[in-house]
Symmetry: C2
Subunit: 512 residues, 2 copies
C-alpha cells in the first residue's frame, strides 16, 4: 500500500504525535517483554477475560470510531459498522477457543521401556513465542488492523502485541489502540501487553528488534517482501507471517455459463466492485469459455446496479489502480469490455472489465496476472478445460480459487488444480467475504502468504506458538494443562489416543 499523509483533522479523535522514536520503541519493546513474563504464565480464563473486555470496549466505542474510520477510509458507515461487529466477534471467538483448549495440542506419552529407544515420560504442549509485531492493513481498518485478526490471535496465544498502524488511517489507529490498551489493562492484563507505534522507519526497526519474536503483516507484495527479507536476515531469524498478494482465479464451466450466465455476471459484478475492489480476495481473473458474451453481461450487470466510480482508500491507492489498469488494458491481446481504464478520476476507482485469452496470459503471465488492487477483473477466454487449468496454474499462488460448475461437470480435475494454487476453494460462490470460524483458511501458496498458516480463523493462533516438551517432570512442575488430573478439562492425546474430558458440556464423546 502506498503511504499517504493523514487527512486534515475534523473529528474529536486525537492527532497522533510524530513517528515513534527509537528510544520510545525500545521502551515499548522492553515493556512488552516484561508483560510476556506475565502473559506466558497466564491462564486461558484470564486471557479470555482480557480479550472480551477489549471487544466490549470496541463495541461501546463504535459510534465514536466509525465516523473517524469513514473520514479516513471513505468505506462508508454501513460497511464500517459491520466491520466493527466482525472484529469484536473475532476477538470473542479466540476467547472461546482458548477456553476449549485444543489449540495447545496437549500430548502425554507415558514411559515405555519397550520402544526403541526406550521412552521416558514425555508431555508436550504449545507455548507463546513472545512479543509479536503486527502491521495493520489499509483496506480493513478494523478487522485487519489495530484490533484485527493478527492482534486477536497473538493475544489469545499469550503474546504481547506491538501494532504498527497503517498510515492510511492514523487517527483511527491511535484511538483504537488507546481503547484496546485501556480495556486490556483495566481487565487485569499487564501494562505493556499492547502498544501502538507509527512511522515507516519504526516499522523497519520493529521487525529487526531483538525483543520481537514474530511478525504478522497484511499489505502489498513489495512492502511485505521487504519486511520478510529483514525478518529472515536477522542474526536470529523470526517467523514473518505475511499476506501479500492474490489474484483469486475463478473458473466458469461451459455448462454453468449455459445454465446461469446472468446470475454469474451479476455475482461477479457485485464481488469485484465490493469495497471499491479493495479486498485481498477480489476475483481478479475469471476463466470463461471462448466466444461467449459473458463480458457484455457483466457490463450490463454493472449498468443495472449503477455501480460507478467509488472513492478509494487513499489517493495513492487510486493512482496505483489507475496506472495499473491503464497499463494492463494497453497490452496486446487485452480488450476493454466495461469502464474506461484511461479515464479514472483522482481518488476514485471506476469498475473496469478487461478480456484476453489463455494464450496471451500463458505467454506473459508476469505482466497480465499480477494483482491490480481495485475494482477490476480480467476475463480470460479458454478453449477447453485443459487450457483453462493451464491458465489457472499460470496465475500461481492465491488466497482463493473458485469454480462455477453444474452437476454434469466432472469436478475432480478442476478441484485438484484449484487446490494446488489456493488455500480456499469455493464452489458456486464468490471469494470476497471471509468468515471467521474454526475451519477458515486465509492463506495460500506464495505470493498470497509467506507461511503454511492462516491469518483468519481459530488456527491463526498456531503462528504465535511453539511446542515444548517436558521429560520426566514431577506433576507439580508441569503446566496444569499437562498434569495427571487434567485440572483444566481440556482435550488431550494420551499414549497416541485422543481423549476428551468426560462430562464437559459442549463436547460430544462420539458421533460424527
Amino acid at each position: 500500500m502506498t503511504e499517504t499523509a493523514a487527512p486534515e483533522r475534523d473529528t474529536a479523535a486525537p492527532v497522533p504525535a510524530g513517528d515513534t522514536t527509537r528510544d520510545q520503541l525500545d521502551a515499548i519493546a522492553a515493556a512488552a517483554r516484561r508483560a510476556f513474563a506475565v502473559t506466558v504464565a497466564s491462564t486461558a480464563a484470564e486471557r479470555a477475560a482480557w480479550i472480551r473486555a477489549a471487544a466490549d470496549a470496541l463495541d461501546a466505542a463504535r459510534d465514536e470510531l466509525v465516523p473517524i474510520a469513514d473520514e479516513e477510509t471513505r468505506l462508508g458507515a454501513v460497511r464500517l459498522t459491520g466491520e466493527v461487529a466482525r472484529t469484536t466477534a473475532q476477538l470473542r471467538l479466540f476467547a472461546d477457543a482458548i477456553l476449549e483448549g485444543s489449540y495447545l495440542e496437549a500430548t502425554i506419552d507415558h514411559p515405555d521401556p519397550t520402544t526403541i529407544p526406550p521412552r521416558p515420560d514425555l508431555r508436550r504442549m504449545l507455548r507463546p513465542l513472545g512479543p509479536v509485531a503486527v502491521f495493520g492493513a489499509s483496506n480493513f481498518p478494523f478487522a485487519f488492523s489495530v484490533a484485527g485478526g493478527d492482534t486477536a490471535s497473538a493475544l489469545a496465544a499469550g503474546c504481547p502485541v506491538i501494532v504498527k498502524g497503517h498510515p492510511a488511517h492514523p487517527r483511527l489507529s491511535a484511538r483504537t489502540a488507546e481503547i484496546v490498551a485501556g480495556a486490556l489493562v483495566a481487565a487485569g492484563a499487564p501494562e505493556g501487553v499492547f502498544a501502538h507505534v507509527t512511522g515507516h522507519e519504526t516499522g523497519v526497526a520493529l521487525v529487526q528488534h531483538p525483543e520481537v519474536r514474530a511478525v504478522g503483516f497484511t499489505g502489498s507484495l513489495g512492502g511485505g517482501r521487504a519486511l520478510f527479507d529483514l525478518a529472515q536476515q536477522r542474526p536470529d531469524p523470526i517467523p514473518f507471517y505475511g499476506e501479500l498478494s492474490a489474484v483469486n482465479p475463478v473458473l466458469i464451466t461451459p455448462a454453468a455459463l449455459e445454465a446461469r450466465a446472468d446470475e454469474l455476471a451479476a455475482g461477479l459484478a457485485g464481488s469485484f466492485t465490493l469495497g471499491a475492489g479493495q479486498f485481498c480476495t477480489n476475483p481478479g481473473v475469471v476463466l470463461v469459455p471462448a466466444g461467449s458474451d459473458f463480458g457484455e453481461r457483466v457490463a450490463a450487470a454493472l449498468d443495472a446496479s449503477s455501480t460507478g466510480p467509488a472513492p478509494m482508500l487513499t489517493e495513492g491507492i487510486a493512482g496505483a489502480f489507475a496506472s495499473g489498469i491503464a497499463g494492463l488494458a494497453a497490452r496486446d491481446g487485452v480488450d476493454v469490455v466495461a469502464g474506461d481504464p484511461t479515464a479514472q478520476q483522482p481518488g476514485t476507482g471506476e469498475p473496469v472489465v478487461l478480456r484476453t485469452t489463455t494464450a496471451a496470459v500463458i505467454a506473459d503471465p508476469g505482466t497480465l496476472l499480477h494483482e491490480c488492487f481495485g475494482p477490476s477483473t480480467l476475463l480470460i477466454e479458454y478453449a477447453d478445460l485443459a487450457d483453462a487449468l493451464a491458465a489457472v496454474r499460470a496465475v500461481g499462488g492465491s488466497l482463493t480459487a473458485t469454480v462455477h460448475a453444474q452437476p454434469s461437470d466432472e469436478l475432480a480435475p478442476i478441484v485438484e488444480v484449484l487446490s494446488e494454487v489456493a488455500g480456499r476453494v469455493l464452489f458456486a460462490g464468490w471469494p470476497t467475504g471471509v468468515a471467521v470460524s474454526w475451519a477458515q483458511q486465509h492463506g495460500g501458496p506464495w505470493p498470497s502468504t509467506t507461511s503454511t498458516h492462516t491469518s483468519v480463523g481459530v488456527s491463526a493462533m498456531r503462528r504465535f506458538l511453539r511446542p515444548i516438551a517436558f521429560q520426566d517432570a514431577p506433576d507439580a512442575a508441569l503446566p496444569p494443562e499437562l498434569r495427571d488430573g487434567n485440572p483444566l478439562g481440556i482435550p488431550r492425546r494420551i499414549d497416541g489416543m485422543l481423549v476428551l474430558p468426560a462430562g464437559v458440556p459442549g463436547r460430544r464423546p462420539a458421533g460424527g
Copy 2:
C-alpha cells in the same frame, strides 16, 4: 559438518558415481513432481503400506548395511544396529499416525447465517506441500539420514523426497536409497517418489529448485544458515526446517549436588561422551554450584569407566573438535578439569571437561557458549540461582535444557527459564537419547532450529503440510476425510467440537 572424501572401497556396497549433474537433478525433480500428482491423491492406507515396506526392507538389509555404516562412521556395530531399529520403528510410527488421521486437522463448520459475516459451509484439512528436499546428517547415518525422520515424515505427509546424502557416509547413503526407493515402488508408490543426489553444488541447486517446496536439514550452524538464506531468498521463498546447533544447558542445584554428586558425575560423563559426543543433544554446558568438587568427580567417573579417545565421524570433525576445544581451553577464566585439549589425536576425540564461571560466560557468551561438536562439556560455576539462570539465558536457544533438583528446591523459576530457551525440558535425566513418539519435541529457539516445529516425533509431519479449506463444496467433490459420512473414521472438529468416531478400536471416548 566438514565434508570429506569417501574412504576407500572395501565392502560390496556400490561406489557412488560422481556428483549429480544439473540435468540429472532436473530429471529427478520432474519425476518427483509427477510422483506428487499421485501421492497428493493417495490414501493414508496406501502410504502406510509404502512406508512399512521401506521399513521392512531396511530391517531385512540390516546385516548388509551396518558394516558399511561402521566402516564409514566408526560408530560401532552395536550402536548402528540399534539405530537401524530406531529408524524402522520411526517409519512405522508415522504409518500408524497417518492411519489414525488426527494429523490432518479435519475441521467442519456448517453454515451459520447468524455469524458476522455469515458463515458458509467450510471444511478444512491439511494437504502435502509437494516435493521435499532432505539433507542427511553425519552423526546418525540411519535415523537422521537417507531414511531418517525428515524422510519418514515427508513421505507420510504425502510428499516425494529428494535426499542429499551426507558425504561422510556416501556408500551407505547410496545403498540405503537404493533399498528404500525399490521397496517404495515395489509396494505401489509412484516412480520418482524417492531419490538420492550427491554433491555440494547439487545441494545448493536443490534448495533453489522450482519444484522443491520445503527443505529438511540437520547439520551445522554455518552450512544450515547458508542454505536457510538461499531458501528465503528464492523468488518464491520456501520453508527451511533446519536443526543447526545446540549447547543443551544442564543446571544442577546445590541440593541435588549435595544428595548425589557421584551419580550426577557418572551420568554426565556417560552422556557427553556418548557416540564420541556427536549428539545434537550433547550436554555442552553444566551449571554447578561454585566451589564444589563436581569437576573432579566427573574426571574420576571418566577414569572409572575407562572412557578414553574414541574415533570421530570424519577427520574433519575430529580436527574441528581439536581446534575448538583447544581454543576454548586457552581462554582467560577457563580451566581444564579432565583430558588434554591440546593433545587430541587425528581422527579421534578424547573427552575434555572444562570449568569456568558465570561471570566469564556472561561477559563473553559468543566465545564460550557455542557448540563444540564432540566429547566435551563446560562446567560453569554459579554463586546463586539468579546467577545460574542468567547464564542459562546467555546460552540462548537450545534443543534441550535440563535441571537436576531435589524435592526441596523451588522448581517454578527454573522451569520458566529453561522453557524460555529450549524445546525439551528434562528433569533428573540426560538429554542424549531422543524418543520417537507423539509427545516428542526436537526443536527449540534459534539457533537450535529454524522453525517452530519438531524434527522428531509424530508432529514432524506438520512441516510438510499446508491447510486448505473447501467452501460450499458438493459432498462428492470433497476429500473423503471431509465428507459428511466420515468414511475414513478419523477424529474431526465439527462446529467447534472435537468428535471422535464411534466404535473405532483404540480410541477412548472419555477419561483422561
